[in-house]
């Protein structure tokens, strides 16, 4: 993310860019090196440093840094891929360090810490799914179903509790999906309650006869 840059850093970046274009690698490197020292959060500084880096390893580290600072930096993303490929050609070993929604952080066998773009949308893992606001009501619904299977009397009590809980949520600010779920919970609990009436009657007759 570009932050408000000081005049000195802006000047250094301008110099580095010019030098890169003119093929003056050493000058560009010195300027970008100084810029990354002064503004380590500036992706462009790291990118320009990668353009004039002395070794492929340094280039890789700089590009990796650019990507972690600004995943939308498209040039850096492409070059990072090429740099990683170069590294893997030498040594195809990567150890997992950690990951975010947009990147993997890995360690190569040569000891470099590299960020690798994921290139895909983030899919919420099921295990980390936050319980929705309606989860307790679904719990009541499952209990009602269980009650229905075990003679119906439980469902006679639990299904109205499910419906009552669902009604309580109707006035809450819910997502569209959850609003529909509330209606479904109401309808299903009502159906369970209806089915529970004859079944529980059959059970009660057996208990009291």
């Amino acid at each position: 993310m570009s932050v408000q840059l000081s005049d000195e850093v802006s000047q250094l970046l301008e110099d580095a860019e010019k030098s890169v274009q003119q093929g003056q690698r050493e000058t560009a490197y010195q300027a970008s090196l100084k810029a990354t020292g002064l503004a380590p959060q500036e992706p462009r500084a790291w990118y320009l440093r990668s353009q004039s880096a002395a070794s492929p390893e340094e280039q890789l580290i700089c590009l990796s840094r650019v990507y972690s600072l600004d995943p939308a930096f498209s040039d850096a993303k492409q070059e990072l891929r090429a740099a990683v490929q170069g590294l893997l050609k030498q040594e195809p070993f990567l150890a997992y360090v950690h990951e975010t929604e947009v990147l993997y952080q890995v360690r190569s066998n040569l000891g470099f810490l590299v960020n690798i773009p994921k290139n895909r949308v983030f899919e919420k893992p099921y295990l980390q799914k936050e319980p929705g606001p309606l989860r307790p009501i679904f719990g009541w619904l499952y209990l009602s179903l269980f009650g229905l299977m075990l003679g119906g009397v439980g469902a006679l009590v639990l299904a109205p509790i499910t419906a009552f809980q669902a009604l309580r949520f109707q006035s809450s600010p819910l997502s569209r999906g959850d609003q529909v779920r509330v209606w479904i919970l109401l309808i299903v609990s009502f159906l369970i309650w209806l089915a529970a009436i004859p079944i529980s009657l059959l059970l009660l007759i057996r208990i009291f006869s």
């Binding site: 490929q85 893997l88 195809p92 990567l94 150890a95 003679g151 059959l202």
Partner: protein, 751 residues
């Protein structure tokens, strides 16, 4: 009336299915009029049989017209099927519904104590789910064999000139011996396709000596091949495949997944890539085939068992754009994979899970019914058992994660969910289908308990074992077994013997599937099954030990059946014994196959994926044993609670039972036989008048035979006027407490 209608419907079902089994696969012409004629013939034949035996004209007439209308509906709905399939399906649905109604009536109105009623109700719900699954299997079988017209099934795609999108083939490997991967990679090096790359992703292989040769081989095979070793990588195979997407050439449009033990046909990409010219096609799947030489029953039946899914289920699913991406030997559009967020690292059947998410977005899938390669089958029964455990566990994970997306209201909850009714149905049935084996075990337990109670002359009091409740499920079971064998024979082109072996191969894995279902419900993270370890080096002993639980269950079933029959010899205990023999044989098949797999020698054994948390079979089985013990304890309570002292009023709604004699119309031939009642309950009160509250004169016990002197006039609530043995007195016995034999027609009605 209900009972007679159920029997009539069962006759139609049996007749239509038997004819379908005989000619259903050969009938290649479909015609609306022909279907109607066939429907009428089946109805007419059933009616004649019923009229000659147990039927009543008006009832038969009414149900026949209803059935004709019902059949007509299915003939119109299933226009792509031949007449045999349409009529069989209509009759199967009708009979199943009638049986469900009968079972409910019997459950609801049998005079049971409260606990027995609760058990009966639970049993009824399980019965309904099992019947639903049986219907689904029937539909799938008829769909592939009686189908006249395939709309989407292809075995070849039209080549598109100059269309050769770049394909990135991902080969996940974990601890794979180089000899196995070598054959795979060499086959990939010889593909008749110019625009592709191969990424070999070795994840978490502990020893460097194992994965380094892979790297060397990739270097040797040329610049298309890239090898990567991922260390301490989370997410197992899916984690590695997700990382492979980041290392895929940006020009690649398609990703192919190839298991490390697959030899691929050179035309694989050339033949399949044209499918992606249609931007709506997200993935293409081909059958997973296996290297197989006819070396014994185990390997051949296992091979056929694998083929079943790709010969039966996938073509049927493909007609409704509801196939699953089975991982290896499939291609998937890279942009779609990125769009759905990659492979799910939580689900151990990540391929099937991804296909559901893709279909949810409204994309198309395509199944090409032609094998483009072959892999290695599990080396022995233990490997097969572990593999089936994983598949089932993954299926349950998928169901747990996506159940709401498969519900009828899914579109309202998530408008972006574009799954069609058929897609939701296939994925739901696919997930629920695993539970068949759990129900099978419960059914076996129920039968064993029935046998134990029978040995002690104390019939199980869940619901009355009427003739109907014994005959109809037995007919269902028999016909569904025939149907399964028919599908195996027709689709896999195998002999009857091999079809039976393949069927047993399927069922022998029931225990592993049961454990996986239970673990799938209890566990959240991926697990694998760890079978018991042998303390000796003997392979035979090990083969027996890995199937010790199946052997135990099988032997319990067979012993219980034998005991029940030898201690109390009648046709009911004989039926029970036969059912227990059948159940027992399904479990005993496991040690048999385990021993047969010993003869399978191969230089290359496929690697068994054991990533995840291990679940010890012994520990998992103890849970099953504990639940069984609780059930047995609860069953024992049934005996403590008394049965209704008087015949309750609600019992008059019980459906009438029909005796075997009536069913077979033996009344005339046995006109000299004395009408006899045999007590079927633990104890039955005999009363002074034909009603529940009347004075109790005596008590009869299970198995006791009594001469019938008369009957009441109420056909819906029959009472028998019987002679009290060793006495000059007579009394009234309620019809539901006994079965009858002999000539019942001429019994006088006593007012």
């Amino acid at each position: 009336m209900l009972t007679r209608l159920l029997y009539l419907s069962t006759i139609w079902f049996a007749l239509s299915l038997l004819v379908t089994l005989a000619v259903g696969s050969r009938l290649r012409r479909g015609d609306f009029v022909l279907s109607l004629i066939w429907l009428a013939i089946i109805i007419f034949m059933g009616d004649i049989l019923a009229l000659l035996t147990f039927g009543k004209f008006l009832e038969i007439f009414g149900l026949s017209w209803f059935t004709f209308a019902f059949g007509l509906y299915w003939i119109i709905r299933l226009r792509d099927w031949n007449a045999a399939g349409q009529v069989t399906w209509a009759m199967t649905v009708l009979t199943t519904i009638l049986f469900m109604i009968y079972a409910f009536m019997l459950t609801a109105f049998s005079p049971l104590n409260p606990l027995s009623f609760i058990f009966a109700l639970v049993f009824f719900f399980l019965e309904v789910i099992t019947l639903f699954l049986a219907l689904a299997h029937m539909h799938e079988s008829l769909d592939v064999i009686c189908r006249l017209q395939w709309h989407r099934l292809l075995d070849k795609l039209e080549p598109i000139p100059d269309y050769e999108p770049m394909v990135s083939l991902h080969v996940p490997a974990y601890n794979e011996p180089i000899e196995i991967v070598q054959r795979t990679l060499e086959s990939l090096a010889h593909l008749n396709y110019s625009n592709y790359e191969v990424l070999v992703m070795d994840n978490n292989t502990p020893l460097e000596e194992t994965w380094r040769p892979l790297e060397e081989m990739c270097r040797r095979l040329g610049p298309r091949f890239h090898c990567l070793h991922l260390d301490k990588w989370p997410g197992y195979k899916s984690g590695a495949l997700n990382f492979a997407v980041t290392q895929t050439d940006p020009r690649a449009e398609i990703i192919g997944i190839i298991d490390a033990d697959y030899e691929v046909d050179p035309d694989f990409l050339k033949e399949l890539s044209p499918a992606f010219a249609n931007p709506q096609v997200a993935f293409v799947q081909t059958p997973q085939d296996y290297s197989y030489t006819k070396k014994g029953i185990f390997s051949e039946s296992t091979y056929r068992g694998y083929k079943y899914f790709f010969e039966v289920s996938m073509p049927s699913r493909n007609e409704r754009n509801a196939i699953i991406f089975a991982g290896t030997m499939g291609l998937i559009r890279k942009s779609v994979l990125e769009e759905i967020g990659g492979w799910d690292e939580w689900c151990i059947t990540e391929d099937a899970e991804a296909s559901l998410r893709i279909l949810k977005r409204g994309y198309q899938s395509l199944y090409i019914h032609r094998s483009f390669g072959s892999g290695l089958m599990p080396f022995d029964f233990e490997g097969l058992k572990k593999q089936r455990f994983r598949w089932c566990f993954g299926g349950i994970q998928l169901l747990k994660k996506h159940w709401e997306a498969l519900m009828p209201w899914a579109h309202w909850v998530d408008p972006e969910n574009k799954l069609t009714f058929a897609q939701r149905y296939y994925y739901l049935v696919g997930g629920l289908g695993w539970f068949s084996d759990v129900f099978n075990l419960l059914f076996a337990l129920f039968l064993v308990l029935g046998a134990i109670f029978s040995v002690f002359s104390s019939p199980i009091q869940i619901r009355p074992l009427t003739n109907t409740i014994l005959i109809i499920p037995a007919v269902f079971l028999f016909l569904h077994i025939l149907r399964f064998l028919w599908v195996l024979r027709n689709r896999l082109k195998i002999s009857l013997g091999m079809a039976v072996a393949t069927m047993y191969n399927f069922f022998s894995l029931g225990w592993a599937v049961t454990l996986a279902c239970i673990q799938g419900l209890l566990q959240r993270e991926g697990v694998f099954l760890r079978t018991p370890k042998s303390k000796t080096a003997s392979r035979i002993w090990h083969a027996i030990q890995v199937t010790q639980w199946e052997t135990t269950i099988g032997l319990i079933c067979i012993t219980a059946g034998l005991l029940a029959f030898t201690t109390n010899q009648n046709w009911r205990t004989f039926s029970l014994c036969m059912l227990l023999f059948w159940q027992g044989s399904l479990y005993i098949a496991a040690p048999a196959f385990s021993l047969l797999s010993l003869g399978r020698e191969t230089a290359l054994a496929p690697h068994v994926n054991e990533q995840g948390r291990p679940i010890l079979e012994q520990r998992a089985a103890r849970w099953v044993v504990a639940v069984s013990m609780i059930l047995i304890a609860a069953f024992s309570l049934l005996k403590i609670l008394p049965s209704p002292a008087e015949l309750p009023e609600y019992a008059r709604f019980l459906p009438n039972d029909i005796s075997l004699q009536q069913l077979l119309n033996q009344s005339e031939s046995q006109s000299t036989d004395l009408p006899t009642a045999t007590i079927t309950v633990a104890s039955a009160n005999c009363r002074s008048k034909p009603r529940g509250g009347a004075e109790k004169m005596t008590v009869f016990y299970n198995g006791q035979q009594l001469e019938i002197l008369g009957k009441n006039a109420d056909l819906n609530n029959p009472w028998w006027y019987v002679k009290i043995p060793d006495s000059s007195e007579n009394c009234w016995l309620w019809g539901m407490t006994a079965t009858t034999s002999g000539n019942l027609e001429e019994i006088p009605i006593i007012e």
